[in-house]
Symmetry: C2
DNA sequence: ACTTGGATACTTGTATACTAGTATGCCTCT
DNA sequence: AGAGGCATACTAGTATACAAGTATCCAAGT
């Protein structure tokens, strides 16, 4: 028997210019690259010290994710935030996460509980230290944790893919915002209901939590109008 | 005033080798290209009469969609159907569509009703004519229609992206299967509840409908074992 | 003063050449 | 005969060269 081609698969040889993707995505998310800004392939290529080929592949993927707009013989631009896409993202995320947190509340085990508590503590620390970037990541981590506890870890991949547009709004609001304390409280409420195994309340709290964005979207679309797509006349 | 750069945007100049993507996707879906089969970039390129560059971009996207597996310096292969991915797809699809059909039942207008009835009639025709490929498309069209009626047309894009793996199973079952009559009946039930504006029953029927795949997955994973990933030992 | 025509610079799309890593088959050595 | 090492062929990754379309600017004509 031929050893079944070894399931070790440390095939991890050359993880491509995947870093480029993360870098650009982060820069767009954080507004370093502003909507409407032109980002030619050649510029990005020489800036990163690579050729156009890998840059192109990264840009294609970013276009699929809605971060850039590629116009065939014209140019590549940072995409504006489309309000319609934000609302769609919110709808999908709410639908999926409200269902998964129910499962999480029912499937909780003790080690998971510890992770949740640790995450909350870390959020509190970030809040007091004023580190909004860290909080941004911990927020994601908590939600990912719920999905994992629910026994559907792969679903988080989908949610992450969908909430791209939401993340841009979220980052803007964290920057210009005074509401992190509220978020930490809501997270604490979520964790509390999950720890108590109360699926019903957990779902309701999640729905309310995810809908807090609505309050800020309108404000942000005026405060940072240059980030948003100008609605059709 | 500069005419606002004209919103006509017939920018539709060169829709790339997008056809290639559709062609490969269809061939994998229908089993023309079988799981495990090697599909080198060069082969695909010369077969399509183009260069490797556009082929590569198509393959990258297919890899993102889970249709092919790219191993860096080794080769590109048609991906097997991963049962875990199928179950995840089902979960997501059920979650999203159960919610949207509720909205559809509440938002229905008369023109939409006509479209639904027409779709059902077309399905019946395909069934009697034994055209499984046409039925496959009409099935999709009906579900897309529900999502559109719900007022969230963009959500269908997400569902379509997620259900790739499910589609492969669905196609297999349509080929080897005797159950289209059941599906048409279920579709009729769905449409009936939506037409009646009964959100509760519509959702329940949708859940039951989407879960019919479970019945066939196990059978298919034995009948067509070569299409599925061999579970870890 | 305004429009219109065309030359030019710049963009992405595509093709080709080169690099590097992997698998395979053959040969040699034990 | 079997096991191990080595040369070769093939793969995707990357870089570069070429093609095709677009926007811009300037000049000429009305």
């Amino acid at each position: 028997m031929p050893l079944a081609t070894a399931e070790l698969r440390l095939h991890r040889r050359a993880p491509i210019g995947r870093e480029l993707h993360g870098m650009l995505r982060r820069q767009i998310l954080r507004g370093v690259l502003r909507p409407g800004e032109s980002i030619p392939e050649t510029t990005l290529a020489e800036r990163a010290g690579v050729s156009r080929t890998p840059v192109r592949e990264v840009l294609r993927r970013l276009a699929d994710e809605g971060f850039v707009t590629i116009i065939p013989q014209v140019g590549t631009y940072v995409a504006p935030i489309r309000l319609a896409a934000v609302y769609d993202s919110q709808f999908i995320r709410e639908t999926l996460e409200c269902r998964t947190i129910r499962l999480a509340a029912e499937n909780l085990t003790e080690p998971d509980a510890a992770v949740l508590r640790a995450n909350l503590a870390a959020q509190q620390a970030s809040l007091e230290a004023g580190e909004s970037d860290a909080f941004f990541d911990q927020d994601d981590a908590l939600h990912a944790c719920f999905v994992r506890i629910a026994g559907r870890p792969a679903i988080w991949q989908v949610i992450q893919g969908v909430k791209s547009q939401l993340d841009r709004v979220r980052y803007l609001s964290l920057q210009s915002g005074d509401w992190p304390p509220v978020l930490v409280e809501e997270h604490a409420t979520l964790v509390g209901h999950v720890l108590a195994g109360d699926a019903e309340r957990a779902e309701a709290a999640m729905r309310a939590h995810l809908r807090t964005v609505f309050a800020t979207i309108e404000r942000l679309s005026r405060t940072n109008a240059d980030f948003f797509e100008t609605p059709a006349p």
